[in-house]
Subunit: 700 residues, 2 copies
């Protein structure tokens, strides 16, 4: 526990894996309950895969009828099976599943994969059966995977509890957690052609017990897993996910494909912040907070995973490109720019070295275009020269079918150079039949290849994001203290409690109220006529500045009423607005809406009445540290222009960031506040002041 702004906080706590889940990947002994001798049955497929997987423990088969498959006897009772047995795979009728779990528990088997479907996903009756399973499992201390799932694979142990069509996926470093069994099955088949392998695969099914968050540490702690990919449709507990994912992301890259992005419509909201914070924005913020890379498409997720599995991390975002053709080089350069990467500026000695080995018509400037005649040796030499240059952080080699040489010879030469350096190199390998052997060469050497420069650039960008992400892990997490006073907090009091300066505008219905308010706010104050009928207040004498004391206020009040009534006799007058006088400045919005899954979601951006139309806002999950607040500000024009722009003078960025951080702490500590919004926050040359603060309390 540490102290921050006088408040205690907890460091992200280290979540180690739950050893009760280990049998799902590395069990000592497995029993298949519901094994079958009919090849078209799942109970046959599971037995086939498990036995063919090379699993080294004992495989036991149980079914209602005895028999034999794969040279193994089928028993009719769990009791007939010798120790050790740590995992059961249940392929029994839906209604018999709870009973089977009970049998497992009694037999001392504490982990079960429920392959059978027909539970929650089919309606109420199924949901009841599923609930029975959960209760029985709890009673007997059995952990459940599924129901309605395809099980687990560990290619290194090895273990395959699925019924997927053989062969088993290749060994590799990608750990894959999937909410969809069909998606996992399709990816496993696709991976065969794409040439990448997996360490562990888990399909979660209905998640009656074990969910995606539980499985994260199982992959994070697994040595064979180099990168974790998550296909997610939902989340069980947002805050717990962020904790576990953050812990996992410290150890290895985590990539998520979260679908249902556009599903949830806008919620009714009390503030601009609430209206703008669609539920998917909270996922974006949560992934960012946890250091999880969010992929847009399935293809992108695995493109990234292959680079993250096999490449060292780069020191920066400067890329060197080697090509034998100009066109693909320009495509690559474009893609770098789109991905936020830059073309490395090559050093003088690099340029000299390149021109020594390339023909005069070649382009020695990045992208280095060696021309169509480029030999395997020239490819290797140029790449080596680029990687030696300190201004090159990563490289992309572009290899369309070389007109004069075999692509595989280029691949061999290039691979020899790549291993010499601790810098990432990816290949854009264009074509198909003419580069087929080259593809095999690269895959054997574990060098990531992509069919087009655009995808290679996206993979390089993922490496840079990962490298940057490791350097900027958020440090703080607050335990919230729910305030007992609850809704008794006023905006004033809350702002004061958290040290956020205000210049709130208050309505005084008469002279005495005006004096009382001014005394409370402190002089100097501004007084403005309050009337729904007057838009140009100063034209009718309805604005008074520089009121330094009570006397001036009193005389000013009388004078203003007189002037306004004479100028606009029919205007309705509600009184006057009193505000502490503050200089002009820039105005921004700072807000928070409490996401039901992830907690306080902070917003910063261009405020005013147009905030919802302009959408110049950024979101992040609270509580924020200074770096996170800074990053939000940089993402918006409102934040960037605080430095000044053209005739707009610079204002106090630090004070703005400070308010953002403080509001995020307020949100973390006051769970009874559902939404809070400062709009505008007036940012001055020195300091900032909240001009209007709106709060929605829980249940309002």
């Amino acid at each position: 526990m540490g102290v921050f702004m006088g408040r205690p906080y907890f460091l992200w706590f280290n979540r180690r894996m739950d050893t009760s889940l280990l049998p799902f990947f590395q069990p000592k002994g497995v029993v298949i309950v519901g094994a079958s001798t009919s090849p078209e049955k799942l109970g046959y497929g599971v037995a086939r895969n498990l036995i063919q997987s090379g699993y080294k423990g004992a495989v036991h088969l149980v079914a209602q009828k005895s028999g034999e498959i794969f040279g193994k006897q089928i028993h009719t009772s769990l009791q007939d099976i010798p120790d050790p047995v740590e995992l059961a795979i249940l392929i029994v009728p839906t209604k018999a599943t709870a009973g089977a779990i009970e049998d497992c528990g009694k037999r001392g088997i504490k982990a079960a994969v429920i392959v059978s479907a027909g539970f929650r996903e089919v309606g109420e009756e199924g949901a009841k059966l599923e609930q029975q399973c959960v209760e029985v499992a709890k009673q007997h201390g059995v952990r459940l995977l599924g129901p309605n799932c395809i099980g687990t694979i560990d290619t290194h142990f090895p273990l395959d509890t699925t019924f997927l069509q053989p062969p088993m996926p290749s060994q590799g470093g990608i750990g894959f957690i999937s909410h969809s069994g069909a998606f996992a099955a399709a990816i496993v088949d696709w991976a065969r052609e794409e040439g990448f392998g997996f360490s562990r695969i888990v399909s979660l099914g209905n998640q009656a017990d074990v969910n995606e968050t539980d499985m994260l540490p199982m992959l994070a702690e697994d040595k064979a897993t180099k990168v974790i990919v998550l296909y997610m449709e939902s989340i069980s507990n947002g805050k717990r996910f962020v904790q576990h994912a953050s812990e996992a992301a410290k150890q290895k890259p985590v990539i998520a494909l979260k679908v249902g992005r556009f599903e949830a419509g806008q919620k009714a909201a009390a503030s601009h912040t609430g209206a703008l914070a669609a539920s998917d924005i909270a996922f974006d913020a949560a992934f960012e907070k946890a250091g999880v890379l969010r992929a847009e498409t399935a293809e992108q997720m695995f493109d990234w995973a292959q680079a993250l599995e096999n490449c060292p991390l780069p020191k920066g975002n400067r890329i060197g490109i080697v090509t034998n053709a100009g066109g693909p080089g320009v495509i690559a350069a474009d893609s770098l720019e789109r991905e936020g990467l830059v073309l490395a500026q090559l050093s003088e000695s690099t340029l000299t070295a390149l021109s020594a080995i390339l023909p005069p018509a070649a382009s020695i400037h990045n992208p280095v275009d060696m021309l169509a005649s480029a030999s395997p040796k020239q490819y290797a030499q140029c790449l080596e020269i680029l990687l030696q240059d300190e201004s090159v952080d990563s490289a992309m080699v572009i290899l369309p079918p070389p007109p004069m040489f075999k692509a595989e010879d280029v691949a061999k030469s290039v691979n020899e150079v790549i291993v010499k350096f601790d810098k990432p190199v990816v290949i854009a390998l264009l074509g198909s039949t003419l580069v087929g052997n080259a593809l095999s060469e690269f895959r054997n050497a574990k060098v990531p290849t992509y069919p087009f420069p655009e995808r290679a650039a996206s993979a390089l960008a993922a490496l840079v994001k990962r490298a940057n992400g490791l350097q900027s892990l958020p440090t703080l997490q607050f335990e919230s203290k729910v305030s007992k006073v609850g809704r008794l907090w006023t905006p004033d009091k809350l702002m004061r409690e958290y040290g956020i300066p205000t210049a709130l505008i208050k309505l005084a219905r008469d002279e005495n109220e005006a004096i009382a308010i001014a005394n409370e706010l402190g002089y100097p104050v501004v007084m403005k006529i309050a009337s729904p009928d007057i838009s140009h207040k100063s034209d009718v004498g309805g604005v008074m500045l520089n009121i330094h004391n009570e006397q001036t206020l009193q005389s000013g009040y009388a004078q203003m009423m007189k002037q306004v009534k004479s100028a606009m006799p029919k205007a309705r007058i509600d009184g006057v607005h009193i505000q502490r006088q503050i200089p002009e400045g820039q105005e921004v919005i700072v807000g928070m809406v409490r996401d039901p899954q992830f907690g306080p979601l902070m917003m910063f951006g261009s405020g005013g009445v147009e905030v919802e139309g302009l959408k110049d806002v950024a979101f992040a999950l609270g509580p924020l540290d200074q770096a996170e607040a800074e990053s939000m500000m940089r993402k918006t024009w409102a934040g960037r222009k605080l430095k000044g722009f053209r005739s707009i003078p610079p204002v106090d960025e630090n004070a703005t960031r400070d308010v953002l951080v403080k509001l995020s702490i307020l949100a973390a500590e006051h769970e009874e506040v559902d939404e809070i919004e400062i709009n505008p926050l007036r940012v001055l040359t020195n300091g900032a002041a909240a001009v209007d603060v709106r709060i929605k309390f829980k249940g309002e």
Copy 2:
């Protein structure tokens, strides 16, 4: 010729193909000059491809040494060759090329492909040799393709003048124009695996004579070409390209991948419009004007092309999805949303029909999830029911490896349904080995397949864009009349000439000037103190409204000077600003910068001093018709909020659109105006007025 706003205009004129280019695809007789008996030489490869292509005309071989290849005699002189010969392929040393062209010309051969390199691309000397070729060709009326190109292919005629590795690309409906030979070669190889074919392919090389724009009509007029794809690195003549591309796009879909997007930095510019109009924005605007679909990546270009080649166009953007698994269905739904498509709301009768054939646990609402047990028959039935629904414009069938059936059986059943309807259907075929036969089935039936739902959605979106594009072709094109008076035009005069109302702010240095200006502008006017030292003018008596005549102006002037001097004796006074008094309203920016390639590039958006930071602007190529102006306005928040937003009252959208159209006509007619910007244009409840107009004339 028609009349618009009292001005003559020309309709897009119908560009027919230039018949002198026909021999590049369908020559009567071809001669290869520089044929070779050595298999590693290009002169051998070209002979091999041409002969093996099945070309039905006579193939003649010429070289310095006589000999024989492929059973054909090699002649040593062009003169030895019998008629007809319409095309020569030149693979001779760089320095001998001009001579070879001359020989062709004399022999009556009016088209030549120059395969040889070593010209402009290698430097000054090469550029001179290239220039020689062009001059000789002009002299003898020979059209040139290249140099430094890989030639042409027509798979239907058939003809193959390239030296690419056999086999020749498959027949298909994609016509492909490429600025990069290497890119074309790689795509041809990649297409073999992807299973799509080409009608015509042309690699342009150095474009000494024939360029991308010349080739557009050659594909537009070709019956076998169903869709045109362009890989572009540059453009020879922007306006001519827009004309030809627009003409081609009326006949068939045109897709462009324009690279070098981020190459050109910002130019120094006199206006906000100029500063924001990076050169690539002009390309975007040009493609939009011409009805060309711009692809972001190479993969996307061919994904779109396959759908556009093989599918009918949809009537709308409502998509029905059929799947056997929930996960990929959600991915698909997300992707639709991202692409601007919508999930079709199925009719009651559709829902009834679906529930009659699907198990109770299936989801009959779109996406229709038939569950993992879905049979080939169920796939076909569900697709048929969806396509019968009038609320479904297109469909996506998602097919991961079906656990209980063969994917190819599903493919067969689905294909039988697709042919019955005139609606586009695309397939997301997930996996590889398990769906390999299904892939063949779909390819044979010319049904576009994509490995993931995201790419299938992008292809459906391209179909919708194409359908919409055909409905909104721009109609006007102005011939510009360069004004002789040139820079003598003042902003006032120009605005008056084009009927754009103004309320310009003018500086009067003394009372007499103030009176003169007010008389010119017309009463009522507003007068404001002009001083660099006074920011809150009204606080010091420096603002006077409602000045209805000269007398009030005179007395007001004296009073204002007195008040200001007494309040701020040290302030520097430049005089007063006089402006015709107009009501408050919304303010926007309307601007034009003349693009060197494409001509007037119009801008519309949020104005003020922050325009460059906010970047709430849209661009389009002028001249604009009402629909184009409307579309620009809709793309920006500034345009959308003209309708009113929260407490902001609505203002005159029509007047705004009118100014945008008028400014675009001004720009078309005044070529001497390089940049013009109205910032702000004050938009009122009725009408709009230019408050400030800046003009940069050519050469300033």
